[in-house]
Point group: C2
Chain length 345, copies 2
């Protein structure tokens, strides 16, 4: 395999046959549609129930619609998709289980909390680069109402939220990766797999603080493994650290002598307008980085406006059970290097 890819450092892989993102689709909810990226999503659904009678069925319908749209936009035959790498935030991945059953595609169910889109892209790229598949789909979703119901309070309580809290994005992003293509939106040239990082944070209303140390660890590992400096990237884009977590990340990097302030972007900060939308620290959920990837990051790479991006979806392993038992909230983050297709593109 020396021929197909190369282990780089402790936790990274370089791909010699970089998988190409040939299609991407994003479907978002009404609130996301009213935000700064509203016009960039492929579809904005005004009905939070997506025409179903439960929040969970709504999230499944969201996944199904996004998957179908990515297939349609790519002009791909469903039967040519060899594997599906997907997940969501719900127990037993029910949004994915029920949302993808009709696709009849071999499925790898993943759980990385809000880092799931990173995990899906990474495993999908590993499969394509190794020649295990010609075309695969990577997908992740979240829904504000299913997440609040599972992790926090019934919506009807109208609970007050502290300023460090984030707002779970209703949205789904789906990407199709293909091998040995000359054109596409971007290529995946390397990946860095994150490890669990437990910084001892116990505040479930401050997930940014729980995830920032994991993002820091993965970014540092990526730079070390690939032996590059932070400015090798046009952007280092985290998933859903929000305002609080982003500040912590920038500070942690600064302590290491790295200034990422100018090149750092966070999908959770991008997706809402905090002045107009009352979302406090920003957006979160697997769907947050997934829709921002499809609606904003990939188009910028396609246009060549950015040449190289380190995409780092971040996850907080929040569980009501472990939280109520007094446990901390460990974090994880996965890094995916996305590059402009360039002249060969």
């Amino acid at each position: 395999m020396k021929e197909r890819g190369q282990m780089a450092g402790k936790a990274s892989l370089r791909f010699f046959h970089p998988p190409v993102i040939v299609s991407a689709a994003s479907v978002a909810g009404r609130k996301e549609g009213e935000g700064p990226l509203g016009s960039l999503f492929d579809q904005v659904e005004q009905d939070d129930m997506f025409g179903t009678d439960s929040w969970e069925k709504a999230e499944s319908a969201l996944q199904k619609r996004t998957a179908d749209l990515a297939i349609e936009k790519g002009g791909i035959h469903k039967k040519d998709l060899r594997y599906l790498f997907a997940g969501d935030l719900l127990g037993q991945l029910i949004a994915t289980s029920f949302g993808t059953v009709d696709l009849k595609i071999p499925l790898f169910g993943l759980y990385g909390a809000c880092s799931t889109m990173g995990e899906a892209l990474m495993l999908g790229a590993m499969a394509v680069n190794a020649g295990y598949a010609d075309q695969v789909m990577a997908m992740a979703s979240s829904h504000f109402a299913t997440a609040e119901k599972q992790f926090r309070f019934p919506l009807g309580y109208g609970n007050q939220r502290p300023l460090s809290a984030t707002w779970t994005v209703t949205g789904c992003g789906s990407v199709i990766l293909a091998g040995d293509r000359k054109s596409g939106m971007a290529k995946i040239t390397a990946v860095t797999t994150g490890q669990m990082v437990d910084a001892g944070i116990r505040d479930s209303m401050n997930m940014g603080a729980a995830m920032a140390p994991a993002a820091f660890h993965t970014i540092e590992q990526n730079l070390e493994d690939l032996q590059v400096e932070e400015n090798w990237y046009d952007r280092i884009i985290t998933g859903d650290l929000g305002k609080v977590g982003s500040r912590i990340l920038v500070d942690l990097m600064k302590e290491k002598g790295r200034n990422i302030k100018e090149i750092h972007m966070d999908c959770g900060i991008e997706i809402y307008d905090p002045n107009r939308q009352d979302t406090h620290a920003g957006g979160s959920g697997c769907g947050c980085s997934a829709v921002v990837l499809c609606a904003k990051i990939l188009p910028k790479l396609l246009a060549g406006e950015w040449k190289r991006v380190l995409f780092v979806p971040t996850g907080a392993l929040l569980s009501t059970v472990s939280f109520n038992e007094g446990q901390s909230i460990p974090g994880i983050a996965h890094g995916v290097v996305l590059e402009y297709m360039g002249a060969e593109g």
Copy 2:
């Protein structure tokens, strides 16, 4: 890729550099220790709490202990394990998150319900065969008390269980896969990735019936993809169909003109003595197939008693939320072809 492995049929891969299982460890609970396989487990823990103060911490302690034991038995340095592919049954994979945080190994968190050990072995083998890692760990666990608490009734209720119900295994199995080795317990020569199969079963106390159609689908796919007949295998071993699901599987195969009755084995049936242990249809949980793999299947392959086994962990995507909303219970099963190392072993 053509050089390292080959796509076979619709959902299978053949490995040209078969990853070798160089170490395996099993830790089981007291009830499992009293069952027919009791003497085969590496460790039987008499304390269901594993020295902690909650069921969830107990399951994390179980994972940690099993991982450490697999590392120790293999004479491996922890730092040489490049990736961990792991999961459990709990929401947000808390047994894995907290159980593996100290390992500090890049983690792919997986959810395939009780098929997780199959998913972990499959992805681990794909990574090793592709040259992405020299050594990786695949691990899955379950705990009777955490599963009952999450999926069914508080234990204190002393609920009656129908005869079709299974008993969640308290146990963890951990396997270390390595590349390009001449000796080991067994090698993984091919894998078949399952898809979600929804047979419309709505009885959460009959998970065998929910999973049997998925097992059937994956076994048929495997035979078709590899272009072999069922008797190419010495054993076809399902995860936790139990007595009811196993009968359905054998019947479904029979309708296809295949007689697997003599070569079929089910980990859920193996692990308990239904006459003495009041476990009804058998054992279940991610830990069920994981411990039976490590304690019984791999030793038989090492001894050459079996030359070729199709190992098919089965999962039922049961969720209390979707179940209470009237949804069915889809199933999934993943197939892993395990072979005797033979003369080269």
